[in-house]
């Protein structure tokens, strides 16, 4: 024993001495290089195994998202088709009155656009910044043959809007392929004639309101889901296996039914002449005239989306609760805690990873949910995704992309907040 204790420090000293010099293998290669070589094969194999998935993700996820982000601030509809006047904008600073040279450049561009039939394209881009300018472009292009010096008068002869400062400002901001105009619009802002940024008029502000509403409604749905799912998940986790399985099937049933069927059933239940209203009337809770409007409005969106998203809350909660041994609660009770204290201080904190995962899942899904509000939301139940859909239908890809990018940013910010507050490793998705 005495020998051993004496030998130990000596051995430790030898080890530190060896690690100071670079370690080598028996045949003299540096240990690090040998290790890397030995692991290279395994790494290659692992990479080949995930390569198909990687390719799939890149093709179907990363590239489309990159393209979307690109479209949200890159649009060369005007700059590519009207290079001459774009060059004039580049040479003359903001606030310069358009001179004869500017009109001449514009005339040159219009002749080219008429030839290539691209006036619509350029007009569309300017139209995004200043509504109702597309028609001005197509009309002018039709009459491009009349454009002769002096150009300013020629333009004004075609349409007197051509000396409107707003039009020139719109063209100026369209003249660069890269623009923040779409983001400005998505934030309910616009450029004034002098190029400064201002908020749009009161009744034109829709996006910020819709963003706020989307996040609020999603938060509300998440909260309702949590309140409804918690007891169900707890029951699932504590019930004997056979009964738990049956309950689990009931929980998963919504997954197995078509979304349209589910939504239709909700319409049948909730509409003015629907089952729920009839029931309330039969029970005397409401009068025949006081039928509740529960669908085609905000309430309908909330009810149906809660139902659709509930399983996404139950499943992570269940998977966390299932592995909490009952001995924790028992230990707490034996240590003198009432059942409420046991729940609050022992059980609830241990379900946090499930609550976090479920809430994050439901919230993110709700924020981007589009089909349910479209079907049952009516006028006031629409969310930001419905507006994105609207822009996509109208081929305003850049606007849709800008809105989507902002949604994405919002979700990422939330994700970051979650990581800061709870810790992302404290997340259990299944």
């Amino acid at each position: 024993m005495a020998d051993l204790t004496a030998a130990a420090p000596a051995a430790a000293a030898a080890a530190t001495a060896a690690s100071a010099a670079t370690l080598t293998t028996a045949d003299g290669r540096p240990l690090k290089a040998a290790l890397a070589a030995a692991q290279a094969r395994a790494k290659r194999r692992a990479f080949l195994l995930v390569a198909p998935l990687l390719a799939f993700v890149v093709l179907t996820f990363i590239i489309p998202i990159g393209q979307m982000l690109d479209r949200s601030f890159h649009h060369d509809g005007f700059s590519a088709n009207a290079p001459a006047v774009s060059a004039w904008f580049a040479e003359n600073a903001q606030g310069t009155e358009p001179d004869e040279a500017a009109y001449a450049a514009l005339a040159e561009d219009f002749k080219a656009m008429r030839e290539n039939r691209t006036a619509g394209e350029a007009g569309t881009r300017v139209n995004y910044t200043l509504p109702e300018t597309r028609s001005l472009f197509t009309k002018t292009a039709r009459n491009a043959d009349d454009l002769a010096p002096p150009f300013k008068e020629a333009f004004l002869a075609i349409d007197d809007r051509w000396d409107d400062a707003a039009v020139w400002q719109a063209m100026r901001s369209s003249s660069s392929a890269y623009t923040a105009d779409f983001y400005l619009a998505a934030l309910d802002m616009e450029r004034a004639e002098d190029g400064s940024i201002r908020r749009v008029e009161e009744n034109g502000r829709i996006y910020i309101y819709l963003f706020a509403k989307t996040f609020l409604v999603s938060a509300l749905i998440t909260l309702i889901c949590l309140l409804l799912a918690f007891p169900v998940a707890h029951l699932l986790a504590t019930l004997p296996m056979a009964k738990a399985n049956l309950l689990m099937i009931l929980v998963l049933l919504p997954f197995w039914t078509s979304l349209l069927v589910r939504t239709t059933s909700w319409i049948v239940l909730l509409q003015g002449e629907g089952v729920v209203n009839e029931l309330f009337i039969a029970l005397g809770l409401i009068g025949a005239e006081g039928r509740l409007q529960m669908i085609y409005n905000q309430l309908g969106t909330i009810i149906v989306m809660t139902h659709v998203l509930l399983p996404f809350m139950i499943l992570p909660l269940y998977s966390v609760m299932r592995v909490i041994p009952p001995s924790y609660a028992r230990a707490a009770r034996s240590l003198g805690a009432t059942s409420w204290t046991t729940f609050r201080r022992i059980y609830l904190p241990q379900t946090l990873p499930g609550i976090g995962a479920g809430s994050l899942l439901v919230f993110i899904l709700a924020v981007g949910y589009f089909i349910t509000p479209a079907l049952v939301g009516g006028a006031d139940g629409q969310l930001i995704s419905n507006l994105i859909d609207f822009h996509m239908k109208n081929s305003n890809w850049s606007m849709a992309a800008a809105l989507s990018a902002m949604l994405l940013a919002g979700v990422l910010v939330l994700y970051w907040l979650y990581d800061r507050l709870v810790g992302i490793d404290n997340l259990k998705l299944g």
Binding site: P325, S327, R330, A331, R333, L335, G336, I346
Partner: protein, 395 residues
């Protein structure tokens, strides 16, 4: 199997009745000597499914300051008894008294019983210090008093430096100590431990046995301890209750249990044991002669046999078997044996013999200076003092 045990009960009922009467008396006297009775199970029965009884008519009194161990095979109802005492299960029938008060209606958090779980059940989201603070906080204790108590409890288990660690950052043995400290920090009078050392390796287990025993003695608490491990039960307990099939088979101090088992189950369950089947030939002066199947006669002390002609199972401990005639009483019977295998175990030799047609008879002889080492194939004669062989109920 079930039928077999049923058979024991019927065959031995008369005998066990007065036997238990006797041990109960001894127990109450032992309890009395350690002041009075603290926990009483009074005709307690428990059924989970309404079809079968998991605990059948449990009667048990535990004295103040006693270390009582429940020992028994898996599924014999030990945990169930502990859970009824802790308040997590309700007795289907019968009464449990704690310090003279019936506690069937008292919720677990009002019983003031400390409990150590097999998997420790340390709250994973709290530090060691917070774990220990928990029982004190829920009792509304002030911060300074709390901290003093936590420090004392941690020092008691030599874990003073670990208050800020999380349970996951501790080794199994350290977690075990914290669980122990947590069960003791609020000064309970009664501490229940359900296989607290089950997850530890042998060396650590033995060390912790010693520490638990030491804490029990220095704190003067009453401990009800559940274990699978008979070595643990023998070394730690004041008394051991051997459970089987929902009943206490024997309740006795360790030495009694090992040396004077009441029935074949206990003899077989505790320690190594040789069994010889036979028929009672004669009972005289506290001594029985038993004729084996091969016709040989052996000596035994009658325990569960009353009359000549009864079938019996004679139980002898391997270390009480002798093969040197001069060490035996003059009138002791000896029988033939053939050495099959000798296993060297360091401090002793474990020799397997063929006796009365069975090749599983084991004797143990100490590895002392001048010990005669047997060789396989050797023919010897073995015998024992009549007091060391017990004629028990046949299985």
């Amino acid at each position: 199997m079930q039928q077999g045990f049923g058979f024991i009960e019927i065959k031995t009922s008369g005998q066990t009745a007065d036997k238990t009467g006797e041990t109960n008396l001894a127990a109450t006297m032992a309890a009395k000597s350690q002041s009075d009775v603290f926990v009483v199970f009074d005709h307690v029965q428990k059924s989970y499914d309404g079809v079968s009884l998991v605990v059948k008519d449990l009667n048990l009194s535990i004295g103040k300051g006693e270390f009582l161990t429940m020992l028994g095979p898996s599924g014999s109802g030990k945990t169930t008894c502990l859970m009824m005492l802790a308040g997590f299960e309700t007795a289907t029938n019968g009464e449990i008294l704690l310090d003279g008060r019936p506690i069937n209606q008292v919720p677990p958090h009002k019983r003031g019983i400390g409990m150590v779980f097999q998997n420790y059940a340390l709250f994973p989201h709290m530090t060691v210090g917070e774990n220990l603070a928990f029982p004190l906080e829920v009792r509304g204790m002030g911060k300074t008093e709390r901290e003093a108590k936590i420090k004392r409890a941690l020092d008691m288990v030599q874990m003073g430096a670990f208050a800020n660690r999380r349970p996951a950052q501790l080794s199994g043995g350290q977690q075990q100590r914290i669980a122990l400290a947590r069960a003791l920090v609020f000064d309970p009078k009664l501490v229940l431990m359900d296989e607290p050392l089950g997850a530890l390796d042998k060396q650590l287990r033995e060390h912790m046995q010693f520490e638990i025993k030491h804490l029990h003695e220095s704190l003067g608490i009453t401990v009800v301890y559940v274990t699978h491990d008979q070595g643990e039960a023998l070394t730690m307990s004041d008394r051991i209750a051997v459970f089987n099939d929902g009943r206490i088979q024997q309740l006795a101090p360790p030495a009694d249990l090992y040396e004077r088992p009441d029935n074949s189950f206990v003899a077989q369950f505790i320690g190594e044991n040789n069994r010889l089947e036979g028929t009672v030939e004669e009972i005289k002066g506290g001594r029985a002669l038993v004729r084996l199947g091969t016709g040989e006669l052996i000596d035994a002390t009658p325990v569960n046999v009353q009359s000549v002609g009864q079938k019996t199972l004679v139980s002898i401990r391997p270390e009480r078997v002798e093969f040197k005639p001069d060490l035996l009483p003059a009138d002791a019977h000896m029988i033939d044996a053939e050495v099959i295998e000798v296993i060297y175990m360091g401090d002793l030799f474990r020799t397997v013999l063929k006796v009365a047609g069975h090749e599983d008879f084991v004797i143990k002889s100490r590895n002392t200076l001048g010990q005669r080492v047997l060789t396989p194939g050797e023919k010897i004669r073995i015998g024992w003092a009549p007091a060391d062989a017990r004629a028990l109920d046949p299985i």
